[in-house]
């Protein structure tokens, strides 16, 4: 059994990561007894499993994900919501707290209209059907104000940080409310324009430098400078 990649080593698709009885984790694949990377990212060995933490990639929904999406169309009994995934999501009327009644098209637009931003949760998704959303739940519903930032979904885990450490630092230092969608859409609100701007700059910096060491310190340094 041999490992060919060092921990946190940058690997490219097709590069040999290990040989032997290891398990192929996310963004890797096995051929015979060899495991290869399938995406550009940082290689990691987790127990007996080889994974590649991706540096790029689109958002693929998972059940229970919190997402921030935009209404793009009105359907028969609900709304089509764009969640930056290759699949349009459906929010059925039954998954809102609006009172049931005649789901005529014009009634639907009284609740949400094209262009509205919604905070929702994914309640169903698989290979054969588009994602299904709900906005029944605490903290879910239409977004009425705030600044929107779009971050690459592959970088969201880094933005949140281990046990939420990175995002907590941003919130504390800027005093802003920051709501992070797993799909890469982030909402910043409640602060002075300068603070909101700094929070957004920090997020873009994290996105760009997610794969580097010492990022947390550099981000807090930058924010200190900007907020003086």
């Amino acid at each position: 059994m041999t490992i060919f990649a060092e921990n946190k080593q940058l690997v490219a698709p097709g590069e040999l990561l290990a040989e032997g009885s290891y398990f192929p984790g996310e963004n890797t694949y096995r051929e015979g007894n060899k495991i290869y990377a399938s995406r550009i990212g940082l290689a990691e060995l987790v127990a007996n499993k080889l994974i590649v933490v991706p540096l790029k990639g689109c958002y693929i929904p998972r059940v229970d994900d919190f997402v921030i999406g935009r209404v793009v169309d009105i359907a028969m009994s609900g709304w089509i919501v764009g969640i930056s995934a290759p699949y349009p999501a459906l929010l059925p009327l039954s998954e809102t707290s609006a009172s049931r009644g005649m789901a005529a098209r014009k009634d639907l637009t009284k609740i949400f209209n094209v262009g509205d931003l919604l905070m929702a949760e994914v309640i169903a998704f698989d290979r054969t059907r588009d994602p299904l959303l709900t906005i029944r739940g605490r903290g879910l519903g239409k977004v009425s104000s705030g600044r929107v930032v779009h971050i690459s979904p592959a970088k969201i885990p880094r933005l949140i940080g281990r046990k939420g450490s990175m995002i907590s630092m941003l919130k504390k230092m800027t005093g802003c409310e920051i709501i992070v969608g797993q799909n890469g859409t982030v909402l910043v609100s409640g602060g002075q324009p300068k603070n909101e701007q700094t929070a957004m700059a920090a997020m873009l910096m994290i996105e760009r430098e997610a794969h580097t060491r010492g990022l947390t310190d550099r981000v807090s340094e930058m924010m200190n400078r900007e907020l003086k």
Partner: protein
């Protein structure tokens, strides 16, 4: 206007541009050069200047082309009007349509398309300047753009052509060698799986010449594949170096 016939190989076996028979033209690649595309790569291979970009996976348009079990791959190879000697109409020619097809087919087996059913992965190749071997350079750039977009790949595909110049098998023919030579054999190759995914030929080759040419092409593809991986990593390595460098001075004074 007829080009006067040029002597393609001199007495020392040196070609018009100073290369030996088994030498590649200079190649430069840069990844992530466009802002809007999900992935992109720019390549200079000899005098070829080619931009490749990828969008996807995204919703399939029109809906009816979507496949239940995998992503659809769309590929468009297109030459800019100013890319060739005589200005070319921007409307796609039959050659561009044929190349779009064979290029798509050369990349299909590298993409793990079964991971994204009912979506579309769109590849765009724009030849800004053409000088022989543009479809190969296009494949090289497109495969990089797919990797840059974070699309899961079995491996990166490299491509190179071999020609026959003044009766000798010659690697990576330039435009003039292509036009005045006796054969053109473009090849796309995946080194890890040892698979040839594009193979075309026109001209005249003996079986022995073909075998020699194919070996030459495969070796060149392996070299190009190394350059592709370096280019892909370089983008991230440079960000890493710059970022960590900014931090260093502070640590030193502590």
């Amino acid at each position: 206007m007829n080009e006067s016939e040029v002597r393609l190989i001199d007495d020392n076996g040196i070609r018009v541009d100073g290369r030996r028979l088994d030498e590649l033209r200079p190649i430069k690649m840069e990844v992530g050069v466009l802002d809007k595309a999900d992935g992109s790569a720019y390549i200079e291979h000899g005098k070829n200047r080619i931009m490749a970009a990828v969008y996807g996976p995204r919703e399939a348009h029109p809906k009816h082309i979507a496949l239940a079990e995998r992503a659809v791959i769309k590929c468009r190879y297109h030459m800019a009007p100013f890319s060739v000697e005589e200005r070319k109409s921007p409307a796609p020619s039959r050659r561009e349509l044929e190349l779009s097809k064979v290029i798509r087919e050369s990349l299909e087996s590298s993409v793990m398309s079964e991971l994204y059913p009912r979506t579309s992965i769109d590849i765009f190749i724009e030849v800004l300047q053409s000088d022989g071997g543009s479809r190969c350079a296009g494949i090289t750039a497109a495969s990089l753009a797919l990797a840059d977009a974070g699309i899961p790949l079995r491996e990166i595909v490299a491509a190179c052509a071999v020609g026959k110049v003044a009766g000798r098998v010659a690697l990576d023919p330039s435009d003039i060698e292509d036009k005045q030579g006796d054969a053109d054999l473009p090849v796309a190759f995946m080194p890890k799986s040892n698979s040839i995914t594009l193979l075309q030929m026109d001209g005249s080759l003996t079986e022995e010449e073909f075998n020699q040419a194919l070996s030459m092409a495969i070796d060149a593809c392996k070299k190009i594949n190394q350059l592709q991986i370096e280019a892909l990593k370089r983008k991230y390595v440079s960000v890493k170096e710059q970022a960590e460098e900014r931090q260093e001075p502070k640590e030193a004074t502590a």
